[in-house]
């Protein structure tokens, strides 16, 4: 019998396989159970698996399969009635999305034991309470709220060459005018 394909697809067809298990149990006592404790976990939590399998040819260790648990194996002993009591421990995978998940093991060919559990969102790490800001920790207030741009224009040359030319022109005109007045006065007196 090709067992592997059935095991691999078990997670996708639990209901169908459970139906098959019921039929198998009636035939060869391959009754199986699997419980997950605790039933509500968070990523990284440790969980305990415990179950039974009545299949006569069941062997341990029995590997588990789950989308949310790190793979492990189940071990145990068979009681006098021929039922295996098996246990194992594992952890919830990190970054698992919250929701309902399952874990299973193969009790008999085509017959799996299934346990269900719920993954809840990881509790955010508690944030440190905001500390009251002491005066020395406050953002530094600018003593000059708006700093002036650039340098200060605090000087003007007494005279500039270009301006001197203009001023010399004014002076020359004044001298010419004074000279003219002098000549006019001299001539007037001469008459």
């Amino acid at each position: 019998m090709n067992v592997r394909p059935v095991f691999a697809c078990a997670a996708a067809g639990i209901a169908l396989l459970t139906f098959g298990a019921t039929n198998a149990a009636a035939d060869d006592l391959s009754t199986e159970t699997l419980e997950v404790s605790p039933g509500e976990v968070r990523p990284g939590d440790t969980v305990t698996l415990s179950g039974t399998c009545g299949y006569a040819d069941f062997t341990v260790p029995a590997p588990t399969e789950s989308g949310a648990l790190v793979p492990t194996t189940l071990t145990g002993e068979k009681d006098t009635a021929g039922v295996w009591h098996i246990t194992g421990t594992t952890t919830v995978k990190e970054n698992v999305k919250p929701g309902k998940w399952s874990v299973l093991f193969e009790c008999a060919p085509g017959d799996v034991g299934v346990g269900e559990f719920t993954v809840v969102a990881e509790t955010p790490a508690p944030q440190p309470a905001p500390q009251p800001t002491s005066p020395t920790q406050q953002p530094t207030e600018e003593q000059v709220a708006v700093k002036p741009q650039g340098a200060a224009e605090t000087g003007a040359l007494e005279e500039e060459p270009a301006d001197n030319t203009a001023l010399l022109g004014v002076g020359a005109a004044a001298l010419l005018a004074a000279g003219g007045v002098g000549v006019w006065t001299y001539r007037k007196r001469a008459r």
Partner: protein, 186 residues
């Protein structure tokens, strides 16, 4: 000729940058209680260079530069109201011309101040703040040390600013600023 002379005078005034900008109010300064408890400055006296002047209020020009006293009254100094008042924590700033209007300015000899010289600031409440010079710098206007001049200080300090260095005829402006740093000592 008279018109040309008048134009020349206008160019001189504009060259100082004092009258070419529309002034705007100085920004609010620190509102700490200490700052408000100190009366505004009224006058400055620098015995070492024989300079003394009343102080006018200066703010910011529209382009963000600091206002300066009227260049045609070069013996007038002013204090920048956007900075803390002299004696309050922070850098108080006082500006004056090195010259203007054909005569020497109030800070014509500011560059002669050296470490240890005193600067006295009289306040409107009659008190006087005594500052001691700690440093005298002459820096290019192209690399004006804004943070050193206007940045936060541990205690009450004072900055005195005027022009210095050679004159740039094209820019109608001195190439440097003389900056005196002083701390409150009394």
């Amino acid at each position: 000729m008279v018109t040309a002379a008048g134009l020349a005078t206008t160019m001189l005034l504009a060259g100082c940058g004092a009258s070419s900008q529309a002034p705007r109010p100085a920004p609010a300064t620190s509102t700490s209680r200490i700052a408000q408890d100190i009366a505004p400055p009224k006058e400055i006296s620098i015995p070492r260079i024989g300079a003394s002047s009343a102080l006018v209020e200066l703010g910011l020009n529209a382009d963000g530069t600091v206002q300066v006293p009227p260049v045609d009254a070069p013996m007038q100094a002013g204090w920048f109201t956007g900075a803390p008042r002299p004696g309050a924590p922070g850098p108080a700033v006082i500006l004056g011309h090195v010259n203007g209007g054909g005569q020497a300015g109030i800070f014509a000899r500011l560059h002669k101040l050296t470490e240890g010289d005193e600067v006295l600031i009289g306040r409107t409440d009659g008190t006087t703040a005594r500052f001691t010079v700690t440093r005298a710098d002459q820096v290019s206007k192209k690399h004006f040390p804004t943070n050193e001049v206007y940045g936060n200080t541990d205690g009450p300090e004072l900055r005195l600013i005027t022009c210095g260095g050679s004159f740039d005829h094209d820019a109608h402006s001195y190439r440097d600023n003389v900056i005196i740093y002083a701390t409150l000592t009394g």
